[in-house]
C-alpha cells in the first residue's frame, strides 16, 4: 500500500508540471503575451516614469528574457529543490532545502502565498459545508428512489433531479439573491460577503439579555420540535395535511404582506404554492423524511415564536452572522451535486438490490432494512466514493461562480480577478494549488476505495 501511495505521489509531479506548462504556454502564446509593457499599459505615467517602471518589472520578474527561460526560472523558484541565486542574479549554488517561493502578485504587490493563505480557507469552508449536505441528501433520496422503483416517488424525484441538475448555478444564484436578498422582495439574507462589519467585533456565540429569554427560546423551540415530530408520527394523514396546509397558507400570507409593495396576485399565488408544497410534506409515506422535515419546521416556528415574545436584547454573534451569510452560497453549491449524486445512488442501489446476494439475504428472511442498509448499501458506496473525486473539481469550479455572484473573497473570485488582470504569478499558483487539491482528492478517493472494498488491493 505504501509503495502504491509513493508511486502515486511521484506521478503527481509530472502532472503538476504539465498543468503549469499548459497554463504558462497559453499566457506566453497569447497576443501581446505577458510583458512589462502589457502590465503598465493604461497607467497614465510620464515616459520616463513608464520606462523606470518597465525596467523595474523586467528586473523583478525577468520579463525580458525568452518565455522558456522565464518558465524555468519560475519553476526553480517554486520547487523546494533547485538552484539558488544571489542578489545580482548570479548562480550561487544548488540547494535541496531552499524552500519554495510562489512569487509576488503583479496586481496586489503582495506575496502570492499570503493571498492564498487568506483565500483558500474560505473556499474550503464553502466546500466543506456543502459536501456533507450533498451526501446525506443524495443518499436519502437515492436509496428511497431505488427501493420504490417505478412508483410515484421514484418517477417524480428522477424528473426533479434532472431538472435541478440542469439549472445553471448562476441562474440559481441570481434568483436567490434577487428574491431573498434584494430589498425589492424579501430582504432576509445579506447580498454579499461573509460577515457584516459589526459582526467582527461581536462575541463568537449569540447573546441574550437575560437567562429567562434563553430559557424561553429553548422552551418554545423544544415544544415546537416535539410537536412537529409527534405530528409526523402519530397524527392521521388528513389532520397532518390540513394543519400543514394551514401553516403554508399563513406563511404565504405573511410573505405577501412583507413585500415592499404588496400585490394581491403574488400573495395568492405564493400562498397556493406553499399550501401545496408544505401540505404535500404531510402526505408523504416516508417516515424519516416526514419526521426530519416536520421537526425542523416545528423547531423553526417555535424559535420564531420565542423570539417574538422576547424583549429583543439579542446580539447575533459572529457564528450566527457567518452562518446567516453562508446559507445562500452553500445552497447554490449544493443543489446540483445533490441532484447528480442522488441519481447515481439510485442506479448503484438498484444494481445491488437485484444482485443474487441481496435476493439470497431476502430469501433467508432477513429484515428488509437489514438487507438494504447492511448489505446493499455498503456495496453501493463504491461508485459514490469514486465520484466524490470528480465532484471536487466541480465544486472548486462552482465556487468561482458562487463567489463571484455573492462577492465572497475566496479562491474562485481571486482566480477570476487574476486572469482578468493578467496576473501571471497568481494564475500559475492558483492552477497549481487547485490541481494539487484535485489530485490529492483523487488519491484519497482511491485509498477509500481500497478500504471500502476488500477485493481491491494496490500492491
Amino acid at each position: 500500500m505504501s509503495t502504491y501511495v509513493i508511486r502515486r505521489l511521484l506521478l503527481m509531479i509530472p502532472t503538476l508540471l504539465g498543468i503549469t506548462l499548459v497554463v504558462f504556454t497559453v499566457m506566453a502564446a497569447s497576443p501581446g503575451g505577458i510583458s512589462a509593457q502589457s502590465l503598465i499599459e493604461g497607467q497614465n505615467l510620464e515616459p520616463q516614469a513608464k520606462k523606470a517602471l518597465e525596467d523595474y518589472y523586467n528586473q523583478l520578474y525577468g520579463l525580458d528574457s525568452p518565455p522558456a527561460v522565464q518558465y524555468l526560472r519560475w519553476l526553480n523558484n517554486v520547487s523546494p529543490v533547485g538552484f539558488t541565486f544571489d542578489e545580482e542574479n548570479n548562480l550561487s549554488g544548488f540547494s535541496f532545502w531552499k524552500g519554495s517561493d510562489l512569487g509576488t502578485s503583479f496586481r496586489y504587490g503582495r506575496p502570492v502565498l499570503d493571498l492564498l493563505e487568506e483565500r483558500v480557507p474560505i473556499t474550503l469552508l464553502l466546500n466543506a459545508l456543502s459536501l456533507p449536505l450533498i451526501y446525506t441528501l443524495a443518499i436519502a433520496v437515492g436509496v428511497r428512489a431505488a427501493t420504490e422503483r417505478g412508483k410515484v416517488f421514484d418517477v417524480s424525484s428522477s424528473a426533479l433531479m434532472l431538472g435541478l441538475w440542469s439549472i445553471p448555478t448562476m441562474l440559481a444564484g441570481v434568483l436567490l439573491i434577487g428574491f431573498f436578498a434584494s430589498d425589492q422582495y424579501w430582504h432576509w439574507f445579506p447580498t454579499a460577503g461573509l460577515s457584516t462589519r459589526e459582526a467582527l467585533d461581536m462575541p463568537f456565540l449569540p447573546h441574550w439579555g437575560s437567562l429567562q429569554e434563553v430559557a424561553l427560546l429553548f422552551g418554545t423551540g423544544a415544544v415546537g420540535t416535539i410537536l412537529g415530530i409527534g405530528l409526523a408520527l402519530k397524527a392521521p394523514r388528513l389532520l397532518r395535511v390540513g394543519l400543514l396546509a394551514g401553516v403554508g397558507l399563513s406563511l404565504g400570507l405573511w410573505m405577501g404582506a412583507n413585500l415592499p409593495d404588496p400585490h394581491q396576485g403574488v400573495t395568492v399565488l405564493l400562498s397556493l404554492l406553499l399550501i401545496v408544497a408544505i401540505g404535500g410534506l404531510g402526505y408523504t409515506d416516508y417516515t424519516g423524511l416526514r419526521v426530519s422535515l416536520l421537526g425542523l419546521l416545528g423547531a423553526g416556528l417555535g424559535l420564531a415564536v420565542g423570539a417574538q415574545w422576547g424583549s429583543g436584547e439579542f446580539v447575533r454573534g459572529f457564528l450566527l452572522d457567518r452562518l446567516w451569510h453562508l446559507v445562500l452560497p452553500v445552497l447554490c453549491l449544493t443543489y446540483s451535486g445533490f441532484a447528480f449524486l442522488s441519481k447515481l445512488t439510485r442506479t448503484a442501489v438498484l444494481e445491488n438490490l437485484m444482485a443474487d446476494y441481496a435476493r439470497t439475504a431476502q430469501a433467508k428472511g432477513l429484515a428488509e432494512n437489514v438487507v438494504l442498509w447492511k448489505h446493499v448499501f455498503r456495496n453501493s458506496l463504491l461508485p459514490l466514493i469514486t465520484v466524490s473525486a470528480t465532484l471536487l473539481p466541480g465544486l472548486l469550479a462552482g465556487s468561482v461562480i458562487v463567489e463571484s455572484i455573492f462577492s465572497i473573497e475566496g479562491m474562485g473570485k481571486l482566480a477570476v480577478e487574476a486572469v482578468q488582470t493578467r496576473d501571471r504569478e497568481l494564475v500559475l499558483s492558483i492552477t497549481l494549488i487547485s490541481g494539487l487539491l484535485t489530485l490529492v482528492g483523487y488519491l484519497v478517493a482511491d485509498l477509500c476505495y481500497a478500504i471500502a472494498d476488500p477485493r481491491v488491493s494496490y500492491d
Partner: protein, 397 residues
C-alpha cells in the same frame, strides 16, 4: 404463385441499429419534449434575421419596392439558410446518413465560399433611419419583422432608458423588456440562440474528435503511449475546466470561433477516458485480431472496425457534453469574459442583479432559456442512454 414467391423472397432487412436506437429514444416523452425545444431553437437560429430585425422586411418608397432586410443579410445568414433547406430536402428524400453528411458538407463549402464572395451587406447600419423616415411619412407602407428590433438596435432615438421591464410603456412593445443599453431582450435572445447552438455542436465535435483520437491511440497501443496519454488526460482533468477556460479566454482575443475551439480543447479528456476503456476491451476481441492478421492499415482497424463498436456510450456522453459546452459559454459570458458586443444568454443574465436592484426579466428569460436548453440536452442524453445501454434497460424492465 406470386404469393409463394413473395414468401420465399428474403425477409425485409431489419432496421439498422441507429434506427432502432432513434425509435427507442422517440418513444420517451422527455426526449420528445427535449428534441422539440432543440428543434425550436434551431428554427429560431436559422430564421433569426427574419424574426427579429429593425430593417423593414418590405417597404414601398415613392412607388418603388425595397427590402432592406434582405439587403442586410450577412454571409453567415445566407449559409445557414442554405444549409437548412439542403437538410430539409435531404430529410424529405429520406437520404442515408452518408448522403446527409456529404450533402451538408458540400453545401457548407459551396454556400460558404459563394456567399462570402457575393453577399456584401452595407458596412454601416443606422437603425434610426427607418423610424425617422416612417415618422416623416416618406414610406407608402412598411412591413416589419415580427419583432421589429435588431439585437444591436440600442433605441437611442426614442429616448428609451436601459433595463426597462417588459411592456413598460404602452407605445413600446418590448415583450421581454430592454437590456442595459436599451436593446430589445427578445431580439437579442432570438439571435443568441445561434451562439448557444453553434457553441454546443461545434465545441462538442472538436472535443469528441480530440478525445476519440487520443483515447483511441491510448487504448489501442497501451504501454508507453497509454502512460503519456493518461498524464495528458490527468493534466486536463486536474485543473477544473472552468479555470483552464478562464485562462484561455482571458489571454486571447474574444471571437466566437476561438471560443468554440477553446471550449473543445478544454473538454476532451472525459471522452478520451471513455474511448480508451472501450478500446482496451475491444482490442482483445477476435474480430480485431482477425483484422490485424489480414494486414489492414491502422486507421482502418481503429476507425472502421473498433470505433463503431464502442461509439454508443460515447454518443451518450456527447449529448451531455453539448449541454455542458453551452453552459460553459454562458458561464464565461456571465463572468464578463465572453463575446463583447454579440448577444449571449449568459451575458444578459449577468445584468439581472446590478447594484442591488433585481431586474427579474433579465434573470427569467435568458436564464430560463439556458435552463431549458441544458435540460433538453440532458433529457435527450438520458433517453439515449436508456436506449443504448441494454443492462440498464433490463433493470428498468
Amino acid at each position: 404463385m406470386t404469393r409463394a414467391a413473395n414468401s420465399l423472397s428474403p425477409p425485409r432487412r431489419g432496421r439498422s441499429y441507429a434506427a432502432q436506437v432513434a425509435g427507442e429514444v422517440l418513444t420517451q416523452w422527455g426526449a420528445r419534449l427535449g428534441l422539440a425545444w432543440i428543434g425550436l431553437l434551431g428554427f429560431l437560429a436559422v430564421f433569426a434575421p427574419f424574426l427579429a430585425n429593425s430593417h423593414p422586411l418590405l417597404l414601398s418608397q415613392d412607388g418603388q419596392l425595397d427590402s432592406p432586410l434582405v439587403r442586410y443579410l450577412t454571409p453567415a445568414d445566407v449559409t445557414l439558410l442554405a444549409l437548412f433547406f439542403t437538410g430539409l430536402i435531404l430529410a424529405l428524400a429520406r437520404a442515408s446518413l452518408r448522403t446527409w453528411l456529404g450533402g451538408l458538407g458540400g453545401m457548407l463549402f459551396l454556400a460558404g465560399t459563394l456567399s462570402a464572395a457575393l453577399v456584401q451587406p452595407p458596412a454601416l447600419t443606422i437603425y434610426e433611419q427607418y423610424r425617422q423616415q416612417e415618422a416623416a411619412g416618406q414610406y407608402d407602407w412598411v412591413v416589419y419583422a415580427p419583432i421589429p428590433y435588431s439585437p444591436k438596435d440600442y433605441q437611442r432615438d426614442r429616448g428609451e432608458t436601459g433595463l426597462q421591464p417588459p411592456l413598460a410603456s404602452p407605445q413600446e412593445d418590448h415583450w421581454f423588456g430592454t437590456e442595459e443599453n436599451g436593446a430589445d431582450v427578445l431580439a437579442r435572445m432570438v439571435h443568441a440562440s445561434r451562439i448557444a447552438l453553434g457553441i454546443g455542436f461545434i465545441a462538442t465535435s472538436i472535443a469528441l474528435g480530440l478525445g476519440i483520437l487520443i483515447g483511441g491511440l491510448m487504448g489501442y497501443f497501451s504501454g508507453a503511449v497509454d502512460i503519456i496519454g493518461m498524464r495528458l488526460v490527468e493534466i486536463f482533468e486536474a485543473v477544473p475546466t472552468l479555470f483552464l477556460l478562464l485562462t484561455f479566454v482571458a489571454f486571447f482575443e474574444r471571437s466566437l470561433y476561438l471560443l468554440m475551439v477553446i471550449i473543445g480543447i478544454t473538454s476532451w479528456s472525459g471522452y478520451a477516458r471513455y474511448v480508451r476503456a472501450e478500446f482496451l476491451r475491444l482490442r482483445q476481441q477476435d474480430f480485431v485480431q482477425a483484422a490485424l492478421a489480414c494486414g489492414l492499415p491502422l486507421y482502418s482497424i481503429l476507425f472502421r472496425h473498433m470505433l463503431p463498436n464502442g461509439i454508443g456510450p460515447i454518443l451518450v456522453a456527447a449529448s451531455f457534453g453539448v449541454a455542458s459546452a453551452i453552459l460553459a459559454e454562458a458561464v464565461l459570458s456571465f463572468l464578463g469574459l465572453g463575446l463583447v458586443d454579440d448577444p449571449s444568454w449568459g451575458q444578459m443574465l449577468n445584468q439581472a442583479v446590478r447594484s442591488s436592484t433585481f431586474n427579474w426579466w433579465m434573470a427569467a428569460f435568458p436564464g430560463g432559456a439556458i435552463f431549458l436548453t441544458v435540460f433538453a440536452y440532458n433529457l435527450v442524453g438520458e433517453a439515449l442512454r436508456d436506449a443504448i445501454d441494454p443492462y440498464l434497460k433490463k433493470s428498468l424492465k
